[in-house]
C-alpha cells in the first residue's frame, strides 16, 4: 500500500514576486516580470529583455551565510526558495532536523556561473590554471541540494537533478516516489536557475529569443525570453500533514517521464503525447478528468506547435484550458516546471485557471488549444497537468489533484 503525497508549502522566488501572496497575485492577474536588461544590451546582445530576479537571499536564509565564498548565487537561491517553502508549510526546525527529510533540486545551469567566472579569468590571464581557488571550491556538483539541505538541517539525501528545462518536474516526481514508498517523510523539491551568459548567448545564436515579449501559443510568437528564479515546494505524506493541521494545496497523483531520443534541440509531438498518456496511466486518470494544463509553452514557434499537437493527440478537439506561466516569467530553465507546479497548486486550491498574457489569436498550429487568454478564468479545476520539456528530448508530465 503506497502513501498519498501532498504539497503543503510553496516557495516561489520569482521576478514577479517572492512568496505565495505576491506570486499568486501576479500569476492570476497576468502581471509580467519582463523588462529590459541594460547590462546585456551593453554587452552587445541584440535581445536583452529578461525576467531578471531582484532578490537578496540573505533576507530569507537563517543558517547559510550569503557573504562568504562557500556558496554560489545559484546555491543561495535554491536554499532561499527551500526556506521559503518550509516557512509557508509551517514546519518547525525540529521536525526537519529529526525526521526523515530530503532535498531534491532540479536545475539547468547548476554551477555554470562559477565555470563562467573561471573561463573569464582564464581568458584574461592566459589559461585555466590562473584561477582563484575560491571559485574551484564552488564547482562541486550537488551543491544546490547540499545548500538547501544545510540551510534546513535535513537528514536524508541531497540530490541535484540537472535535467535541463524539465528538471523541477523530475525533482518533484522523485520526491513523490520517495515519500509514497515510505523511504522519506518530507521532501523539499523544485528547481533553481539564475541566468548565465552561456544561456543568453546560446539561445540568441539558435534564434530562440523574442525581442520584447514572450507570447506562448499566439500567432505572433517569435521566441522565448530568459527568466530566472527558484521554485521549491514541500512534499509531505498526507496523514502526517493532516495531523499537524497543515494547509494542503494539492495532491501529487503521479507523473510520466520519457525521451524523444531523436534530436538534441527539436521536440517531437508524438513523444510528448506518449509522456502525457504515461502520466495519466500512472495517476490512474482519463484525459477528460484534466481541468487545466500548465503548459511548457516557451513561446518559440516549433516548441509551441509540437506541444499543441501533442495535446490534440491526447485530448482531441476539446482540450482543457491551457496557459503558460512563461508569458509573465520568461523561461526560468530548471525552475520553469517548478513555477508551473506552484501556479497549478494555487489554481487547484483556490479555483481558477491563470492566464497566458500577450495572447491575441492562435495560428494554424495552435488553433485547437483552449488558451486562457490574458485574464484568469473563474473555473474550479479538479486535476492539473504540468508540462516540462528540455534539450535532448527530455519530457516530464506531472499530475496534481485538488484536495477535498
Amino acid at each position: 500500500m503506497t502513501r498519498r503525497v501532498v504539497i503543503t508549502g510553496l516557495g516561489p522566488v520569482a521576478s514577479i514576486g517572492v512568496g505565495v501572496e505576491e506570486f499568486r497575485s501576479a500569476v492570476r492577474n497576468g502581471t509580467s516580470g519582463i523588462g529590459p536588461d541594460t547590462r546585456l544590451r551593453d554587452q552587445g546582445f541584440p535581445t536583452y529583455h529578461t525576467g531578471a530576479l531582484r532578490f537578496d537571499p540573505s533576507c530569507l536564509l537563517r543558517r547559510l551565510s550569503a557573504s562568504g565564498t562557500e556558496w554560489s548565487d545559484n546555491d543561495l537561491l535554491a536554499a532561499a526558495a527551500a526556506r521559503l517553502a518550509v516557512m509557508d508549510a509551517g514546519l518547525d526546525e525540529e521536525t526537519l532536523r529529526c525526521g526523515r527529510t530530503a532535498a531534491i533540486v532540479g536545475t539547468t545551469h547548476a554551477e555554470t556561473e562559477t565555470l563562467e567566472a573561471w573561463v573569464l579569468q582564464a581568458t584574461l590571464r592566459g589559461g585555466p590554471e590562473h584561477v582563484s581557488p575560491a571559485l574551484l571550491d564552488r564547482m562541486l556538483s550537488g551543491n544546490l541540494a547540499v545548500a538547501a539541505s544545510r540551510e534546513l538541517g535535513l537528514t536524508g539525501e541531497a540530490v541535484v537533478i540537472p535535467t535541463v528545462c524539465a528538471a523541477a518536474s523530475y525533482a518533484v516526481g522523485y520526491g513523490y516516489d520517495r515519500i509514497r514508498h515510505g523511504e522519506v517523510d518530507i521532501v523539499v523539491a523544485g528547481g533553481a536557475d539564475l541566468a548565465v551568459r552561456m544561456g543568453h548567448a546560446g539561445f540568441t545564436r539558435l534564434g530562440a529569443l523574442a525581442k520584447t515579449t514572450c507570447a506562448p501559443f499566439d500567432q505572433s510568437r517569435s521566441g522565448t525570453l530568459i527568466g530566472e528564479g527558484g521554485a521549491v515546494v514541500v512534499l509531505e505524506e498526507l496523514t502526517a500533514a493532516t495531523a499537524r493541521g497543515a494547509h494542503v494545496y494539492a495532491e501529487v497523483l503521479g507523473y510520466g517521464v520519457n525521451c524523444d531520443a531523436r534530436s538534441m534541440v527539436s521536440p517531437t509531438a508524438d513523444r510528448i503525447a506518449a509522456c502525457i498518456r504515461k502520466a495519466h496511466r500512472q495517476a490512474g486518470i482519463e484525459p477528460a478528468d484534466v481541468g487545466y494544463i500548465s503548459a511548457h509553452g516557451t513561446g518559440t514557434r516549433a516548441n509551441d506547435a509540437a506541444e499543441a499537437n501533442a495535446i490534440m493527440q491526447v485530448f482531441g478537439v476539446s482540450p482543457p484550458p491551457t496557459s503558460s506561466t512563461k508569458s509573465v516569467l520568461g523561461h526560468t530553465m530548471g525552475a520553469a516546471a517548478g513555477f508551473n507546479v506552484i501556479a497549478a497548486a494555487l489554481a487547484l486550491d483556490e479555483g481558477y485557471v491563470p492566464p497566458t498574457v500577450h495572447f491575441t489569436a492562435p495560428d494554424a498550429e495552435t488553433r485547437w488549444l483552449d488558451v486562457v487568454a490574458n485574464k484568469a478564468r473563474e473555473v474550479q479545476p479538479g486535476i492539473a497537468e504540468i508540462h516540462g520539456f528540455g534539450f535532448g528530448g527530455l519530457n516530464a508530465v506531472l499530475m496534481l489533484g485538488r484536495m477535498r
Binding site: P46, T123, L136, G142, T155, V160, G202, N258, G392
Partner: protein
Amino acid sequence: MSIAVITGWGVVHRLGMGAAAFTRGVWSVVHGRAGGRQTTLGEYQITEHLGRRGIGSLDRVAGFAVHAGGLTLEDAGLEVDEEIRDDVGVVLASHAGSMQSTADVVGASYTGRRPFDVPPQLFPNGALSASAAWVAMRYGLQGVNATVSSGQVSALAAMAYAQNMLRNGQASIVLTGAAYEHTVYSSVLAEHARHQYGVTLPQGEGAALFAVELADRVPGQRVCAEILAVDVRGASLPCSQSEIATALGDCIGAALRSAGVSPGEVWAAVTGENGSPVWDRTERQGVCLGLGREPARWVPAKQWVGEMWGAAGAFQLAVILGLVRVDPSGDEETVCVLTSVDPAGPVGALVVRVLLPTRGVA
C-alpha cells in the same frame, strides 16, 4: 519490493574496453603485470569505435558514455527494437557534464566579435544532461532519461534513482553509470584537490555503464550482480570529520539492514579512497562504524582506474565486478559494500552481491 539486478555492463577505460577486457585489465594491475599507471585515454577517437555516422557534435565525455552504452547493451544481449524502446531508459551521474564544451561556448562568447558568436552545435552539450541524451539518441532509448548529481556520491545516487524508475514502471531496463573526461579544466580541479585535501591519485577518465532490471523480470542466468541496497545522504549541518564518518556508518548500517546482510558476510569494502589522508581516514572510520568491525578486505578501487569524482562510484562497481571474477578468494556469490564520501557532506553506500559466471554465461 523487487531488487535491481545488473544484466550486463560496459566500460571504456585505459585498462580495457568492454567488461571482459576491463576485467583482464584489472587482473593485470592487481597482479602487478601491467606497466605504467596511465589512467586516461589520450588520443581516444570516438569515430574509431562508433564510425562517423550519427556522431554529430558528440564531445569527449558524451563519446565515452555512448561507447560504453553500446558495450553494455551488447554485454546484456539487449536488442532495442520498437517493442521495448519506450521501456529502456538512461540514468547517468554527472559531475559537471563537459566542462570543456561549456568552456568552449563561454570562451567563444567572451572572445568572439559578438557575445553570441558561439558554436551552436556545442551549446546543448554544455547541459549536464547532454551525455544521457546522446546515449538515448544513439540507441533509440525512449524511456526515462535523467541525470543525477551529488558530488562524489553521484553514481550511487544515480543507481538509487534508476532503481526507483524501475519500481515505478517509468522503464523496465535502465542503463545507469557515469562518464568522466580528463581536460585542462579537470586537471586544474585535480591539482586544487591535491593542495586542499592531499589527494594523490592521478586523474582517470572513461565511462562505466550497467544495464539494470528488476530481479523478478529476469531469468537468473542473465544476472551478473544484484543491487541489494543503496543509501545516499547529504550531511545536513556543517560537520566535523567524525560526524561525517558517523553519517557514513549510519548509511552503511541502514543499507546492510535493508539488504538483509550481516557485516560478517561482507567480502570487501570497496571504498572511494583517493590518497587524501583526512578523507581516507574518515571513510575507513565510517566503514568500520557501519560494519561494527574492520572489513575482511579493503578494496580502494580507484587506485587502479584513477580519480573520476562524480563518476567514481560507477568505476568502483566496475572494478569489483571485475575483481571478484579474477580473485580466487572470492566465492560464487560475493557480497561487497561500496562507499562514497564527499567533502561537501554527501555520503553513500551500496550493497552488491556479485555472482560469478559459473553457469556458462560470461
